[in-house]
C-alpha cells in the first residue's frame, strides 16, 4: 500500500517543536496519515477510525478491506500484547484469542505488507513490543509493511523521545494521547509532538463500551481543538453512531474500538464489521 509517491516526508521535528500554541500552524511536515486526515477534514468530512485487533480470526484482513470500503478514513490495527493495561475486557479477550491462535507482531506486519488498503493504517500496541524489537528495527519494519502511524498508550510524551526519533526517521507518525487529567501545559507539549492525529481519551478509564457518552469526551475534545491544528480524534468510550455524532460536534473524528471488536468476537465477520462502520459513517456525516 505504501507506493513511494504516497510515502510520508520524514518527520523533521524534535523536542524543540513542542511550542505549538492554540491554533498554531503545525511546525512539522504532515506524514501520510495526517495528510490524509487533513485532506478529508478540509473536504468537510468528520473522521471515522475503526480499531481491529490484528490476527483476530482468519478473515481479519478481509475485515480490514471491508471497513475501508465502508467509509473508514484510516484504520487502527492492534498488535496484541499479553498485558494490555489500557484495555477493558473486550479488547483483552480479543488480544488473548489472537495470541492463542499464534499471532505475533511479525505475522501481523507480514499480512499488512501483502494487502492493499486504500486508507492509511496505524498500529496500536504496547511499548514492550517495540522495546523488545528495538526502536529502529520496529520503525523500519512498520514502514516496510506500509504502516503510517503508531499508537503506544503506555509510552507517555516524557519517555517517547528515543522511539519518536527512530519513528520520525522511518517516516512513521507517532500518535500521542491526551487524557482528561492532562494539565494545559502538558497538553501543549503533547500537541506539539503528536503526529498523524491527536488521540483525545474521552474518559478516565480503559477501553470498553459505555451506554452514555461521558461529558469528559466533549471537554477534552474542546481543549485539544483549542490547542492544536492536528486532527483531533476522540477514542475510548465512543460506542455507537449517536455518540460518534455527538463527539463530532466538537472533535474532528472518532476512534471506535471495543464496540466493533465485540461484534467481531460475536462472529459478525467482515460484513458485520462493514455494516457497523457504515452506521458510524452515516452518523457522523449527519453531524
Amino acid at each position: 500500500m505504501s507506493s513511494p509517491d504516497l510515502a510520508a516526508p520524514l518527520g523533521t521535528t524534535g523536542p524543540g517543536s513542542a511550542a505549538a500554541g492554540a491554533g498554531a500552524v503545525t511546525p512539522h511536515e504532515p506524514g501520510r496519515l495526517e495528510a490524509h486526515l487533513r485532506e478529508r477534514r478540509e473536504a468537510g468530512f468528520k473522521l471515522v477510525v475503526p480499531y481491529i485487533t490484528g490476527g483476530l480470526g482468519d478473515d481479519w484482513i478481509d475485515t480490514l478491506r471491508a471497513v475501508a470500503a465502508a467509509g473508514a478514513d484510516a484504520i487502527e490495527v492492534g498488535i496484541p500484547f499479553s498485558d494490555p493495561v489500557m484495555d477493558g475486557p473486550t479488547i483483552q479477550e480479543a488480544s488473548q484469542r489472537s495470541l492463542e491462535s499464534g499471532t505475533t507482531p511479525l505475522s501481523i506486519l507480514d499480512s499488512l505488507r501483502r494487502v492493499e488498503v486504500e486508507v492509511p493504517i496505524a498500529v496500536m500496541t504496547y511499548y514492550n513490543i517495540v522495546a523488545r524489537a528495538g526502536h529502529r528495527r520496529m520503525a523500519s519494519e512498520l514502514a516496510e509493511a506500509g504502516v503510517s502511524g503508531a499508537i503506544l498508550p503506555d509510552l507517555p510524551v516524557d519517555e517517547s523521545a528515543p522511539w519518536t526519533a527512530a519513528a520520525d526517521e522511518a517516516g512513521v507518525e507517532t500518535v500521542l494521547l491526551a487524557a482528561p487529567t492532562t494539565p494545559d501545559e502538558r497538553l501543549r507539549l503533547i500537541c506539539g509532538r503528536s503526529r498523524g492525529f491527536l488521540y483525545a481519551v474521552g474518559l478516565l478509564g480503559v477501553t470498553g463500551e459505555r451506554s452514555e457518552l461521558a461529558d469528559s469526551a466533549l471537554t477534552i475534545a474542546r481543549r485539544c481543538k483549542a490547542a492544536t491544528d492536528v486532527p483531533v480524534l476522540v477514542g475510548v468510550g465512543v460506542s455507537n453512531a449517536e455518540q460518534a455524532r455527538a463527539v463530532c460536534q466538537v472533535a474532528d473524528g472518532v476512534v471506535v474500538g471495543s464496540a466493533l471488536v465485540r461484534r467481531l468476537l460475536d462472529g459478525a465477520g467482515p460484513e458485520g464489521a462493514a455494516a457497523f462502520v457504515a452506521e458510524l459513517r452515516a452518523g457522523v456525516d449527519e453531524a
Binding site: F81, S82, D83, P84, V85, M86, G88, Q92, Q96, L99, T104, P105, L106, Y127, N128, I129, V130, A131, R132, A133, P153, D154, L155, P156, V157, D158, E159, L176, L177, A178, A179, P180, T181, T182, P183, R186, I190, V201, L204, G205, V206
Partner: protein, 405 residues
C-alpha cells in the same frame, strides 16, 4: 536520616557508595526505572512524587509514621541469633524478624507510609494488588486504621492458595476482587489494579506493594522499607561487636524487603544477595523490557510477550523485578540467585525444626539459598549472614500441609 529530594541535581541522600539514594532524572536507576504509564496516570504519578518528597521532608509526617511503626506495627523488630541452624550450616545466621511485625510481614512498613500519604493527598480510597495476600492484608489493615475504603485485586489462583488471607482482608473491611485474566496471579492483579486506577485516579491512591511500577514507586517503597535495613545495621553491629555481616540475603518478588534491607547495608562491605523463585527469576532468565510502568528485566518471549511465572510462593510468582535491583545486578553490587520449589519446602521445614520459626514461603527461598551456599562452600564456614525473615508462615501452612501429604 538526611532529607532527600528527588529533583535533578539535588542531594541524593546516598551514602559513601553513592548507591540507593534518590534515583536520577525521571526515576532512573542507571537505564532502569522510568514512568511508562498511560497519559491519564502521568499527572497522578507526578503529584505523588511531589507529595512524597514533601512528606518525607516534613518532620510532622515522619513523626506520625514513626509513631505508628512503633506503637501499631511493633517496630523495631528484633534480630534473632539462630544457634541451632548456625551449627547445622556452619555459618552464623541472624534473622531480621519482619515476621513479628503487625500483620505478619514487612509489607506493613510500606503501607502505613502510603496510607498516611493518601490521607495527606485527600484520597479516600486505596487500591492494591496482592500475591500472597500479605500486601493486601496490610493495605486492608491501614485502610481500617485510617478509615479509608480499600479494594484489593488478587489473581484467582492466589485467592485459592491464600484463602486465609482473603478472609482476613474481608474481616478487615476490604473488598477482594479476584482476577481471572492471564495467569491469574500477581502480574494480572497488577494489570487490573492499574486499570482501576486509570478510571479512579482522581479519588484513589494506588497503594503499590513493592519496589516496582512507575516512578516514584520503586524509590518511595524502598524508602518506606529502608527501616528494615537501617534497624538491622545497628542491631547486627551490636551483636557482632561492631562488625557487619559478611552477607545480607533476602527473597525477591518485586524486591521490597530486599531493597529495604540492602539500603541499610549498601555502604558496608557485606555481599548483598537476592533470592528469586526459579520459576520467576526475572534477573536469572529475564530480558530487558518495559512492563507495569517500569523498564526492568522480565520473563518474556523474543517478541516481547510477558511469560507467566511459576512458583509455590504466591508472593514471588512474578515475571519482573524492581528496577533498582536490575541496576544493582548490572553494576555487580548485588547478586541474584534462584532456588526451586523443592529446596524451599526443605528449608521451610528446616527453619521450623531448628529454630521454632515457621517462615512464609517467600523468605523460605532466602533460607534455601543459605543452605545451598553453606553446603557448596560459596559461603565460607564461619561467615556471618543476615537474612530478612520477611514474613511468617501461617498463611502457607495449609498449602504446605497438602504438598507434604
Amino acid at each position: 536520616m538526611s532529607i532527600e529530594k528527588t529533583h535533578d541535581g539535588e542531594p541524593s541522600g546516598a551514602g559513601a557508595s553513592g548507591l540507593m539514594g534518590a534515583p536520577g532524572p525521571s526515576g532512573r536507576f542507571g537505564e532502569f526505572g522510568g514512568r511508562f504509564v498511560p497519559e491519564s496516570l502521568v499527572p497522578a504519578c507526578i503529584g505523588l512524587e511531589e507529595a512524597f518528597a514533601d512528606a518525607w521532608a516534613d518532620p510532622e509526617y515522619r513523626a506520625r509514621l514513626d509513631g505508628l511503626l512503633a506503637s501499631y506495627a511493633g517496630r523495631p523488630t528484633p534480630v534473632t541469633e539462630c544457634s541451632r541452624l548456625s551449627e547445622r550450616l556452619g555459618v552464623r545466621v541472624l534473622l531480621k524478624r519482619e515476621d513479628l511485625a503487625h500483620t505478619g510481614s514487612h509489607k506493613i512498613n510500606n503501607v502505613l507510609g502510603q496510607a498516611l500519604l493518601a490521607e495527606r493527598m485527600g484520597k479516600k480510597r486505596l487500591i492494591a494488588e496482592t500475591g500472597a495476600g500479605q500486601h493486601g492484608v496490610a493495605s486492608a489493615t491501614a485502610a481500617a486504621l485510617l478509615g479509608l475504603d480499600c479494594v484489593v485485586y488478587m489473581g484467582e489462583v492466589d485467592v485459592e492458595r491464600q484463602a486465609l488471607n482473603v478472609f482476613r482482608m474481608r474481616l478487615l473491611g476490604a473488598e477482594v476482587r479476584p482476577v481471572s485474566s492471564g495467569s491469574r496471579t500477581l502480574k494480572d492483579a497488577v494489570n487490573d489494579a492499574l486499570r482501576d486506577w486509570v478510571a479512579s485516579v482522581e479519588t484513589t491512591h494506588y497503594c503499590l506493594g513493592s519496589v516496582m511500577g512507575p516512578h516514584p514507586y520503586p524509590y518511595m517503597v524502598r524508602q518506606f522499607q529502608r527501616v528494615v535495613g537501617d534497624e538491622a545495621l545497628g542491631q547486627c553491629r551490636a551483636l557482632l561487636g561492631g562488625r557487619d555481616p559478611d552477607v545480607v540475603v533476602a527473597c525477591i518478588g518485586g524486591g521490597s524487603n530486599a531493597a529495604g534491607t540492602f539500603a541499610g547495608f549498601v555502604d558496608t562491605a557485606a555481599a548483598l544477595v537476592g533470592v528469586e523463585a526459579a520459576g520467576g527469576a526475572a534477573l536469572g532468565n529475564g530480558l530487558p523490557g518495559v512492563v507495569h510502568g517500569m523498564r526492568s528485566q522480565f520473563l518474556q518471549d523474543e517478541m516481547g510477550q510477558v511469560l507467566e511465572a511459576h512458583s509455590i510462593s504466591a508472593g514471588l510468582d512474578y515475571p519482573g523485578i524492581g528496577p533498582e535491583h536490575a541496576y544493582l545486578a548490572a553494576i555487580g553490587r548485588a547478586s541474584y540467585h534462584a532456588v526451586d520449589d523443592g529446596e524451599v519446602l526443605q528449608a521451610f521445614q528446616l527453619l521450623a525444626r531448628t529454630e521454632g520459626i515457621i517462615p512464609a514461603l517467600e523468605p523460605a527461598h532466602a533460607v534455601a539459598w543459605l543452605v545451598r551456599a553453606a553446603a557448596s562452600g560459596q559461603l565460607a564456614a564461619g561467615s556471618t549472614a543476615l537474612l530478612t525473615m520477611s514474613g511468617r508462615g501461617d498463611k502457607d501452612v495449609e498449602q504446605v500441609m497438602e504438598m507434604l501429604a
